[in-house]
Amino acid sequence: MAGKRAAMAGEAVTGGALARLWRRVRAAFRSVRVETRFLLALWRVNLLSALEYRTAFISQVVGMMLNNAAFLVFWALFFERFPSVGGWGMPDMLQLFGMTATGFGLGVVLFGNALNLADIIADNGLDAYLALPRPVLLHVLAGKSRLSGWGDIATGVLCFALTADPGAAAWGRYAVAALASMTVFVSFLVVVASLTFGIGGASALSAQAIHAMLAFATYPLTIFDGTAKLMLMTVIPAAFIGAVPAEFVRGYSDRSLLQILAAAGVSLALAVVLFHRGLRRYESGGMAVSAG
């Protein structure tokens, strides 16, 4: 009798825990749905405000495409003299450059404040976001869109269209790789900017980090030796913005898919944890006026 009662109590406890877990899962899904709707609304507003000044929008897009073209001219001239470097030729460079441009472009169009997050933190700019009932990191990152990023996205798509095998599967791989590349890029910027919470002004460091990331991501991974490669996959994860996603786009493999997804997941988790830990140390400067 006593055993039966204990079993019934156990079942009740298990049932209660399951119910609690189910409630948590449902709340998490609801939260994701609400924040996704909020994010989509922000992106829509950013796009509409960009289209309001159509000439400026077009000039920035065309300007950035020409900017990227200057680098592609450099590589075309380079490969004219030296046909192969580390086993790479011009088509490989187009794919690498295209992938980096797409990841970077998506990052600055959708999360434009990532580039100046360190300045926002240092200038007490988070005050405006802290007062609002939305996730601070998501809100601050998506609060701005950089028009020139559309030029990078267009360059990336053009490079991909010129070099890749046609077909829905290739475009699908390209989309997955671009999203992973963007996630790593934005997360890296958040991690670097989060240092501002601890050491004060990290703006110069953040600027150098962006330079480093873009410089390393637009060169073939094969030119670097073992230690350098390890660094480009960990400390400055440039390999996961350009070379590794580009390899996945060239041909599907479970290994490269796992690599880009793991890199995106780990960097995103690191960015969220470090930002929120830093946010606990943040002291208000009384700037809660407007968010944008």
Binding site: S59, F74, L77, G86
Partner: protein
């Protein structure tokens, strides 16, 4: 010779000296200003380490792939020291066009025109002063990395001519950037022109790739344009300290500088004639 002519020449000579001393003082002020925050200066100059680190790996692979020790007369060591100087020249120059265009747009150009110095002379002195401080730190950082990873710099005999060519290069760049900045008198935003100019310098100036490596036709076109004499000429002289080459390249630099300075003076005179200053 009349006494009057001698006095006139002496007065003229002392005016030139006074004028030179004035702009030298501006250069010194900018040097002191640049050195006032050494930490900030070093932090802003660290970009060269990133670029040179990538270039060292790129060019090591490239030379290894060709199986040659010298390509178009440049060894691996030459190419990397060329890039140290070329990148330093580019990274250290201030954004002259933006500064002048801003002064035109916000009206502060009127305030500067009333000062007892030439507006253009002052801007040129500021450019050289700023670029000297940052250029020195950038070359030291980039040079240290290349010296450790690749090898020692070229012969010290080539340093003084290269230094003269660097100053001439900055002044040629200053003239072209000033022409872009002065366009603010006509168009509201000069950012697009400045941007196109920076890309021309990148490719035709030899910032990313020595012009020697370009296809012959392309190289000839690049060498006929002024962009090459802002960056390629000084960096090439640095790694090839040859008196004949110095005479040829420095001579072309001076010719471009004279032509562009004349053009800048004419455009500046026409632009300031359009300037209307209201209030005080």
């Amino acid at each position: 010779m009349s006494v009057g002519a001698a006095v006139e020449r002496r007065v003229g000579g002392s005016q030139v000296r006074r004028s030179a001393a004035k702009y030298a003082a501006v250069v010194r002020t900018q040097l002191a200003h640049g050195l006032a925050y050494p930490g900030d200066l070093i932090m802003r100059s660290l970009t060269i380490l990133i670029f040179m680190w990538v270039f060292i790996h790129l060019w090591r692979s490239t030379y290894a792939a060709t199986g040659q020790t010298s390509v178009r007369g440049l060894t691996l060591n030459n190419t990397l020291w060329y890039l140290v100087l070329a990148e330093s020249i580019t990274l250290s120059k201030p954004r002259v066009a933006t500064a002048i265009a801003q002064a035109v747009r916000d009206g502060s150009v009127a305030y500067q025109l009333s000062k007892p110095y030439s507006f253009l002379g002052y801007q040129a002195a500021v450019t050289v002063g700023d670029a000297l401080v940052r250029g020195a730190v950038t070359v030291l950082l980039g040079g240290a990395l290349v010296a450790v990873m690749v090898g020692p710099p070229p012969s010290m005999l080539g340093w003084p001519p290269a230094f003269a060519a660097v100053i001439a290069g900055w002044l040629i760049d200053f003239c072209m950037a000033t022409l872009i900045g002065l366009m603010a008198f006509v168009v509201e935003d000069v950012a697009a022109f400045e941007w196109i100019y920076s890309k021309l310098i990148l490719v035709l100036g030899g910032v990313l790739l020595p012009l020697d490596f370009l296809p012959d036709g392309f190289r000839r076109v690049a060498e006929a344009l002024p962009f090459a004499y802002t960056t390629w000429a000084p960096a090439r002289l640095f790694v090839s300290p040859d008196p004949a080459l110095f005479v040829r390249l420095f001579g072309i630099q001076l010719a471009w500088l004279a032509g562009l300075a004349l053009l800048v003076a004419i455009v500046h005179r026409q632009c300031t004639a359009r300037l209307a200053v209201n209030g005080g």
